[in-house]
Every structure is written in C-alpha cells, then in structure tokens.
C-alpha cells in the first residue's frame, strides 16, 4: 500500500516536472531577440517573406497560445513541421530514435556489465594490487573524453585494422551490420559510464561488506564470493541504481557527440544538423524529448529503489 502511494506520488511529481521543463525549454528557445522566421531566412529576406513564414510557423500569435499549441500538439503526437526538411517532426525524431535508443541501451548494458564485474572484483580485493589497477583504469576512463576515445577506436579498427567501417549506419533492414555499426560507438559512449559506475559499485560494496548481515552470512558458512554477490551486491544496489539514473543524462549528452563522430543518423546528429539549418522547432522538440526520457528514467529509478529498499518509501526520507 505504501509502495502504491509512493509510486502515485512519484508519477505526479514526474508530470509536474515535465510541465516545468516544457516551460523552461519554451522560454529559452522562444524569447528570441527578433523572430525565428528572421533567423531562418537570413538578413537578406524581405519583410513580406518574414511575415509569411512567421504566419506559416504560427509565430505571429502570442507566446501563451504558441506554448499551448505546442504542448497540445505534442500530446496528440503532432510536433509540427520541420522547416529544413519540410516534413513532420514526429517521424523524423522517431527514425533517429531507432538509432539513438539502441545505441544508448548498448552503451548502458556494456557499462553496467563492466562496472559490476570490475566493481565487485575491486571491492573484493580492497587495498591490494588488483583494486589499485581497477581504480587507476577507472580514473583514466573518466578523464578520456568520449569523442576522443571514439576517434581513437576509428583510428585503430577502421583506419589501421580495417575491420569495421569508420562510420555511417546501414539501417535496421540488415540487423547484423546495424548492430556492428553500433559496437564502436557503444564502447566509446559506455567507457566513461563504466568507469564512474565501477567506482560507485566498489564504494557501495565496501560499505555493505562492513554491515552486520555480512558477518552473519559468513558465520552461517556462506562462502565469501557467494556472500558478496548474493548479500552485499543487492544491498549496494540503491546507490548504484541512483547514480545510473543520474548518469543517464550524461550518457544521452555523450550520445549526441559520439553520433557525430561516427556519422550515425541518431537524435544527436539530427539536433546538430537542425542547429546549422536553424531549424529551431526540431531542436526544441529534441531537447524536450531528451528531458522527458531523463526525468522519466529518474522517476523509474526512484520507484525501483523504493521497491528494493522499503525505508525510502517513508515520507521523511
């Protein structure tokens, strides 16, 4: 019952946060010095052309009406028209998500796998050489910018070894090649996440290892390694999940950069091209969508943490 109440509370907060986010995005992108139509057409445009485009884009109506129109349309799946592509924005973003979504998931899966393995290994060998090596590697992993790692991977695997193409995406009609095209980007994107999560996993585990229940488990005769995975790790999961949720925003930001290194037709590349095309509406919707994903994921993480750890459901917490 408490869990259900907590979940409803979290969802209400999620909706309120989204509304607030949409207001911020709209405000930042619409309080322009001048008019978006002017920016799009450039300095040589005639006033008539600007007025015509303003009318076509609905820019001549007052801001509250434009905001309501934007949100109302978005709720019906109508995101408006892209100025540069002349086509509806919804399908444009949907097709870019077919690249960005799997990329982000692959990177996250990779990061989680590496982080849990390396984090458990380091916590188990705390203070010894293996721990120091893992911690040293994680420092390097955090320091190396994802787009530089991406360029280095291209240099090694595409330029020198010629085992993969340097970039581009063949489309999901060829699933094997499509997954192949996402492997290097996922590694470049996931490496820093893996490094951060390894450190979090290690310190959360070390804290759990000092708890009484670990001594009880060991006293009952549970082998060390088994106690680590079965008792310590589940108890360390709350901080790990929380950081994973917070890191996801950085993962998405990283995807924008990495997609551009590998020329992947994802959401990041769509947004960057829209910036150079001065296609403000596409950027606005792209930014909003990413905010929805990040805020949504963090709400899910909060609910998941409360499901794992009943103490978090208490209103005081």
């Amino acid at each position: 019952m408490a869990m259900l109440f907590y979940a409803i509370q979290r969802i209400a907060l999620f909706v309120a946060t989204l509304l607030f986010a949409s207001l911020i995005v709209f405000a930042v992108m619409n309080i322009l010095p001048g008019n978006a139509a002017e920016t799009m057409l450039g300095p040589t445009a005639t006033p008539e052309a600007v007025a015509a485009l303003s009318h076509k884009l609905g820019l001549d109506s007052p801001a509250p009406i434009r905001y309501a129109h934007w949100i109302g349309g978005a709720l019906h799946g109508d995101l408006g028209l892209s100025y540069a592509y002349g086509s509806p924005i919804g399908p444009l973003i949907a097709s870019s998500l077919a690249v960005s979504g799997p990329l982000a998931l692959m990177a996250m899966a990779l990061a989680t796998f590496v982080a849990l393995t390396a984090g458990v290994y380091a916590a188990d060998r705390r203070g010894r050489a293996g721990d120091a090596v893992v911690m040293g590697l994680s420092q390097i992993g955090i320091a190396v910018p994802n787009f530089w790692l991406a360029i280095l991977l291209v240099l090694i695997f595409a330029v020198s070894l010629r085992v993969v193409p340097a970039g581009g995406f063949p489309g999901w009609r060829e699933p094997a090649r499509a997954v192949g095209a996402l492997i290097l980007p996922a590694i470049a994107l996931g490496a820093a996440q893996a490094a951060v999560l390894t450190r979090v996993t290690r310190s959360a585990l070390i804290e759990a290892l000092n708890e009484d229940f670990m001594r009880t488990a060991r006293a009952k005769g549970v082998p060390r390694r088994a106690a680590l995975w079965r008792h310590a790790l589940p108890n360390a999961m709350t901080p790990i999940l929380t950081i994973m949720g917070l890191q996801f925003a950085n993962l998405i930001a990283g995807a924008i950069v990495v997609e551009n290194v590998f020329v992947l037709p994802g959401l990041g590349r769509l947004m960057l091209q829209s910036i150079s095309n001065r296609d403000t509406l596409v950027v606005e919707n792209g930014v909003m969508l990413l905010a929805v994903i990040v805020i949504g994921l963090n709400s899910i993480v909060d609910i998941a943490c409360a499901a794992i750890d009943p103490r978090l459901r208490a209103p005081a917490a």
Binding site: T17, F20, A21, V25, V28, M29, L32, Q139, I140, I142, A143, V144, P145, N146, F147, W148, I151, L152, V154, L155, V159, A166, S203, L246, A249, N250, I252, A253, G254, I256, V257, N260, V261, M271, L272, S274, I275, R278, T280, V283, V287, L290, A291, V294, I295, N298
Partner: protein, 279 residues
Amino acid sequence: MNLAARFRRRGGASLWFGAALVAALIAAAALSLIWTPYPPAAIDVPHKLAPPSWAHWFGTDSLGRDVASQALAGSRISILVGVIAVGIGLVFGVVLGLMAAFARGLIEDAIMKLSDFVFAFPALLSAIMLTSTYGPGVVNAIIAIGVYNVPIIAKLTRATANGVLAREYALAARAAGRGPIAIAFDHVLPNIAPALIVQATIQFAIAILAEAALSYLGLGAQPPQASWGKMLADAQNVLYSAPWLALYPGVAIALSVLGLNLLGDGLRDALDPGLKARS
C-alpha cells in the same frame, strides 16, 4: 594546525601527481600568453600536414598551422571556461544552498527540487538549446556549463551547511542573537570550504570535458580561437593522412582532467577525511 604536515600525511601520491598535472596545465596556459613556437592561428598552407619534426614538434595541421602552438594556446580556453563556469556554480550554488539550509521548509524544498530538475539538462543539452537560438560561442558554452554546476554546488552546500548548523557552536551563535549572514560567514563557510574546494576541482575537470565536447561539435570556441575540442574535430577530417594529429589534443584533455580529478581526490583525503568515508 599544520596544513603542510596534513598534506604530507594524508594527501598521498594522487594529491602530488594531480597537483603536478594541474601545474603543468596552468604553466602551459601562462607560457602561451608570452610565447608559442609560432603564432597559433598562422596559416602556412605549403607546409600543411607536416609530420612532427624539430621545426614543428607536433607537426602541422591541414592549414599548416603549428600544432604545438595551438595545443599550448588551447589550454587557455579550457582554463577560462573552467574558472568562469565553476565560479558561476560556486557563487549561485553556495547562495542557494545556504538559503536552503537556513530557511528550511518550503524554500528548502523548492531549491532542492529545482536542483534535481537541472540535472535533467546536462551542460551539453543546455548548450544546444542556447546555441540554436543565440548562435554558437564560448559565452553560451560557459553559461550552459555554469548553470549545470549550480545545483551540484547547491546540494553540497545545503548538506554540509546543515551539518554545521546542528553543531553546538552554531546553536550558541544563534542563541547569542547573531543573524544568519553573520553565522554563514563566521561558522558555516569556513567549515564547508574544504568540501567546496574538492567539489570545485572535480567540476573544473567536468567543465574542461564539456567545453572540449562543445568545441568539437562546433558549438563552443570559434576559429581562430585555438581549442582542443576544435583541434580534434579538424584532426578527424585528416585521420587517414595525418593520424598523429588526433593524439595531442586528446592527450592534453585527458591529462588535464586526470590531474584535476586526482587533485580533487587528494585534497579530499588531505582536507576532509570525513568525506572519504561518505563518498
């Protein structure tokens, strides 16, 4: 208290290694102000894509510009963005965090909810929003990264300030009738400064990474301003003919970030051992 002794005892290797790397970064920026082997933006097309040599230590890029000079000058923009963006974060973050800690109740709730909210907009996303409406440039990059720093500092300030305000000396100051601003300056800030310094160092590293990414995408520093991110973007275009160009700026970014992070870790151990257990 003997600070030097504390540093020697607790800081360890990461403090000194980190400090050395950060000192090298600052020295490179300082040196580039008075001397670079060539003017960083000087174009010399006949000598383009020259491999590293005595004349050009790191070689030349696709326009014949000296890469070593550009790498030196690029450190300036990293430091500039880092200092201002972290400064924005510290000023607004500390004020908001102290307000939350002193006011409690609704104001505290509102500030903390707002901080959570800003996390949904990483620096890169804010910068994309800003540049798509106001055009690319260093100023927008600094604003975006600075805004991203505010909630991180605000949360840390509130959490550590709450700890201080619960102590007897803070309660005594309150009982003696001292106002919140006096208590903030006399008791809270001196006690939370170590934690803030540590976090600021780490945020500095994140700012350098974010600036490099933005400049790589063409949203940050604009030519002829030298920047490591921009250099990597240029290097990628000639990856097949001059692969070495992709090494120097990347190494420079990675060493700067590594240095700041190690310095942060070392300072944490040296200044605030309590934080070590919590992190």
